[in-house]
């Protein structure tokens, strides 16, 4: 085989692999869109489910997912960013910090259904929060923490060391240096990590299964101790648990969830590129 032919063959194989990666996502989004679009209307998104979910809308599930994402953010963002700052800026390389890092890596590898069971045991039963938005948000927050911590820590570490040295040489405290110089520079990376983490939380079914999700609750929740419907679980329910379910509604629900999650993705990408253009190093 000539060198030129081999080169050609290699190039073709690499291109094909790339297409193989892109194709499924295009097909998936396209298929969901084509199947789901006819169901989408203002009434579908903002209406209550009727007829044992076989008609009406998905509003309680939309609100539930929004509330759970917000709740996750409230718990996971401050803790996650604080841990990242501690690990990246303050922690020395000791046995203690190595154990913390090991714990975070392992936390990221725990299957989501195990988080669900853990949330049931700790928040729902032991802490008596009941099946509630509070319990669900906390469970999702714990699942999201490793993502937020590792991306934020990475973003902080990318900020050049010379900024820290120069800032400290000007007589500032370490916290002033972090607050005024390091954190603003790491912000795009931190925000991206937060959004990607929350996006994962918004789409998860298993962690909310035992901790918050209601099978059928055609009203909005009253408090953080209330149950709520949520889009991923609702989709699971109407796809497997309800006989005689119109396919249109299943795909419509999938499209709403997909739109929500993908728009968070877009938000992350826009944030990143907007800040990168302003970056001064």
């Amino acid at each position: 085989m000539s060198r030129k032919l081999r080169q050609q063959l290699g190039f073709t194989l690499l291109s094909l692999s790339t297409i193989v990666v892109v194709l499924p996502i295009l097909l998936l989004v396209g298929y969901i869109f084509v199947q789901g679009a006819p169901a989408i209307s203002w009434e579908f998104v903002t209406g209550l489910p009727r007829d044992g979910m076989r008609a009406g809308g998905v509003w309680p599930a939309v609100v539930g997912t929004l509330l759970l994402t917000l709740g996750t953010a409230i718990f996971a963002v401050p803790v996650g960013v604080a841990v990242a700052i501690y690990l990246a800026e303050y922690a020395r390389d000791t046995l203690f910090t190595r154990l913390i890092r090991l714990a975070i890596i392992n936390l990221a590898g725990v299957p989501s259904v195990v988080y669900g069971l853990f949330g049931l045991g700790l928040f729902v039963i032991f802490l008596r929060f009941g099946t509630s938005i509070l319990a669900g948000s906390l469970t999702l927050a714990i699942m999201t923490l490793p993502v937020i911590i590792s991306t934020s820590e990475e973003a902080l570490r990318t900020v050049p060391q010379s900024f820290r040295i120069v800032s400290l040489s000007l007589g500032t405290t370490q916290w002033q240096t972090i607050r005024r110089v390091i954190l603003p520079q790491a912000l795009p990376g931190v925000l991206t990590g937060i959004i990607l983490g929350l996006e994962r939380a918004a789409g998860e079914t298993a962690p909310i299964l035992f901790t918050v999700a209601a099978f059928f609750l055609p009203r909005l929740p009253n408090s953080i101790f209330d149950q709520t419907m949520a889009l991923p679980y609702h989709l699971f329910v109407i796809s497997t648990q309800v006989p005689g379910m119109p396919v249109r509604i299943q795909y419509g629900t999938a499209l709403v969830l997909l739109t929500f999650v993908l728009s968070m993705n877009v938000l992350a990408a826009v944030t990143r590129s907007r800040f990168r253009r302003k970056r001064q190093w």
Partner: protein
């Protein structure tokens, strides 16, 4: 009248975490209103010595310091010393100019603001005065809100000098401040130093023997962590007393 030294290093030894001994029993007086140049081959402990003077070495873990470093008679490594106040009093300019990722004006006001200076007028005054002193005011006075990184390399280094001056320090440490600059920018920085020594104590690690000879009122030759010879800049380079100093300044090694 014998003037008391600004800095007094009293038998200072310094060992890094990895066991490298950077300084061996260095004793040295550094006086106000003159330029002290610390020179010698690379890796000889010059930068270590400089960073001991504003305790920037605190950032390196596992250090071991012996001896005393006195600033105006006070041990700067004594317990209870305010390191942040010390670093404002002993400002530093680095080899590579690093403007902080903010505007030219903010680069200058950052240090004072973090130290508690809040009045607009006072900060404006500091900005203008420090830029004047670093010979940068005329070039940047109409673009103070542009990012510091937008300046040329030579301007960036003068911005870094101005940033140090805005702290209103007693002492200015310069670690090879012109190593990345062209001859014209280098000349500007050296000229600024001659003006600045009227008001400050200046300690410089020059980037060459030639620069040491040009700027030094007092020259200190450091070789492998030891102080080999010190003396007035005028005579040390022309009539070194020590063989090793002579070999180094005449270019036989280094």
């Amino acid at each position: 009248m014998a003037e008391s030294p600004k800095f007094w290093l009293d038998r200072v030894s310094y060992v890094y975490e990895d066991g490298v001994q950077a300084l061996r029993g260095v004793s040295l007086h550094i006086y106000s209103h003159q330029i002290t140049a610390i020179f010698g081959p690379a890796g000889g402990g010059k930068s270590t010595l400089l960073r001991l003077l504003n305790r920037l070495n605190d950032l390196t873990p596992g250090r071991r310091l012996e001896g005393r470093v006195l600033l105006d008679g006070e041990d700067i490594y004594a317990p209870g010393v305010d390191v942040h106040a010390l670093r404002r009093r002993v400002g530093m300019v680095f080899a590579t100019p690093v403007p902080l990722p903010m505007s030219i004006r903010q680069n200058l006001t950052y240090g004072p603001e973090m130290a508690g200076v809040r009045q607009r007028a006072r900060l404006d005054e500091l900005v203008e005065r420090s830029l004047q002193a670093a010979a940068l005011w005329d070039e940047v006075k109409d673009r103070l809100d542009e990012p510091g990184i937008a300046l040329s390399g030579g301007q960036q280094q003068r911005l870094c000098l101005a940033r140090t001056l805005a702290l209103e320090p007693d002492v200015i440490l310069l670690d090879e401040p012109t190593s990345g600059l062209d001859p014209i920018s280098t000349a500007k920085v050296e000229a600024s130093l001659q003006d600045l020594k009227q008001r400050y104590t200046i300690v410089i690690v020059p980037h060459s023997v030639q620069q040491a000879a040009r700027v030094a009122d007092h020259a200190v030759f450091i070789l492998q962590g030891e102080l080999i010879e010190e003396g007035p800049g005028g005579s040390l380079f022309t009539h070194p007393r020590n063989r090793r100093t002579e070999d180094y300044v005449t270019g036989r090694f280094g």
